[in-house]
């Protein structure tokens, strides 16, 4: 589904990501773990067009999506969430969700006036979808709240909800668990599982909460020092001495010259 080949990115002289290659298979919940500074978030930013790689390629299915700007990557069906939620504060939860779908007729200035019926129809569909998503994540009671007034955990769920608005092919979750309490976290995990099972969405998840990763993800890809260290089932990863060393030994980067 997603193929990453020889990806590299430097900041200054530092190789944050260095000849990193891995594949995310269709319909899996793949975990991406590694110690701090291993380059996971950089990989996310490279995959979603927030950064341009120095070299290497990213493919979705057969298509080369290397270096596309974020909104084009988004249209390829690749959605991401942020570690720190980027909710639109002075807009309601429903509005936050209804914003997401692409190709809304009503986003062209003249359509609300000249094709009001079509626009209204589409709004109704999008709105139904938003309610459905909110139901799914048990957030319906918050639909008319300003997004800025939600709790930290609810904002994380809202982030996931945003990705669900577009029936994405691949969802990249950046630390969905950080700052979320246990109950919400369980709900988040079961939502992800259900989504994967029921809609065939592929997930790539960066997360520090190992219990969360180990329960949810197969396979797990371990990154260290900017490249893929290994890939395997959660049990394999847990038993791997190399992985443990990487975690306990610190992350170092190669420097030019």
């Amino acid at each position: 589904m997603l193929v990453v080949e020889d990806l590299a990115k430097q900041f200054g002289g530092l190789h944050a990501v260095d000849s990193c290659s891995f594949t995310v298979k269709r319909g899996t919940i793949t975990g991406l773990i590694g110690p701090n500074g291993a380059g996971k978030t950089t990989v996310f930013n490279l995959l979603t067009g927030f950064l341009k790689p120095d070299s290497g390629e990213v493919h979705r299915a057969e298509e080369n999506i290397t270096g596309l700007p974020p909104h084009r990557v988004f249209r390829q069906g690749i959605c991401r969430t942020f570690q720190i939620p980027r909710e639109l504060k002075e807009m309601t939860v429903v509005e936050n969700l209804m914003l997401v779908p692409s190709g809304q007729l009503g986003e062209r200035m003249w359509n609300p006036f000249f094709r009001p019926r079509r626009v209204r129809q589409q709004e109704r569909t999008i709105c139904d979808k938003a309610f459905e998503v909110l139901d799914f994540l048990q957030l319906s009671h918050l639909k008319d709240e300003y997004a800025g007034s939600l709790s930290g955990g609810q904002k994380k769920l809202l982030e996931l909800a945003r990705t669900m608005m577009v029936d994405p092919r691949v969802v990249l979750l950046d630390e969905p668990g950080a700052g979320v309490n246990r109950t919400l976290l369980k709900r988040l995990a079961s939502s992800i599982e259900r989504l994967c099972r029921e809609t065939g969405t592929t997930f790539l998840i960066v997360e520090h909460d190992m219990d969360f990763i180990m329960r949810l993800c197969t396979p797990v890809i371990v990154m260290s020092e900017g490249r893929k260290l290994m890939e395997g089932t959660p049990a394999e990863v847990q038993q791997d001495q190399q992985v443990l060393d990487a975690y306990l030994g610190g992350q170092y980067v190669a420097i030019d010259g």
Binding site: G12, G13, L14, A16, P35, N36, G37, S151, G152, G153, E175, G177, A178, G179, H208, D209, M210, D211, I213, M214, P234, A235, V237, Q238, V243, L244, Y247, L248, G249, G250, Q251, Y252, V253, A254, I255
Partner: protein
Amino acid sequence: MSLLTGEGIHSGYGDMEVLHDVSFRIEEKEIISIIGPNGAGKSTLLKTIFGLLKPTKGSVTFKENSITGLAPDRIVRLGMAYVPQVENVFPSLTAQENLEMGAFIRKDDFSDRLEEVYELFPLLKERRRQRVGKMSGGERQMVAMGRALMLDPELLMLDEPSAALAPKLAEMIFERITAINETGVSILIVEQNAKESLKLADRGYVLASGQNRFEDTGENLLANEEIGQLYLGG
């Protein structure tokens, strides 16, 4: 009486609680290493100690003064210095100017102290007129540590000093940390490199999910197999 103690600290960002009941202590002249998996709350702990975050519960005591919720500039005056993990230097200032900024609150002549810091980091003396923005990661880390030392603090807190450095440089930084400690400064270090930092630490704390898990001497912690499980689950 310990140099610094924290008791039952609860803290976090906004309504996101990251630390749930964390306690620790540091004696004079000790090196303490705090390790733990990502997201365990290590950096949050340092920020809470240094007054950048207000604990919701618990207390921090430094040299018998309660510093719970005190503003950073007040804490600095009490003899504690802090080196953040990132953005810890002033890039458009020269190395020497960065060090001078470290001594901002000193009213006396601090040229002796400057020399002492240069002795710890001879490379900085060589490059004292260079802008820090043009320096490498390792050099910046030295500038940052040097800046913190300018006030002659009794306690130096370092947030992941070896992160994003080449192995050789990291080794050098660790070696400098020992050298600083030998001048009588207590050190509280948060590290991703558990192995190296525990080697030089007198004692270590292991945090996981915002809670204390283990406390022991560095050697014992290194030998403890359960710690691996904390990192990788299972």
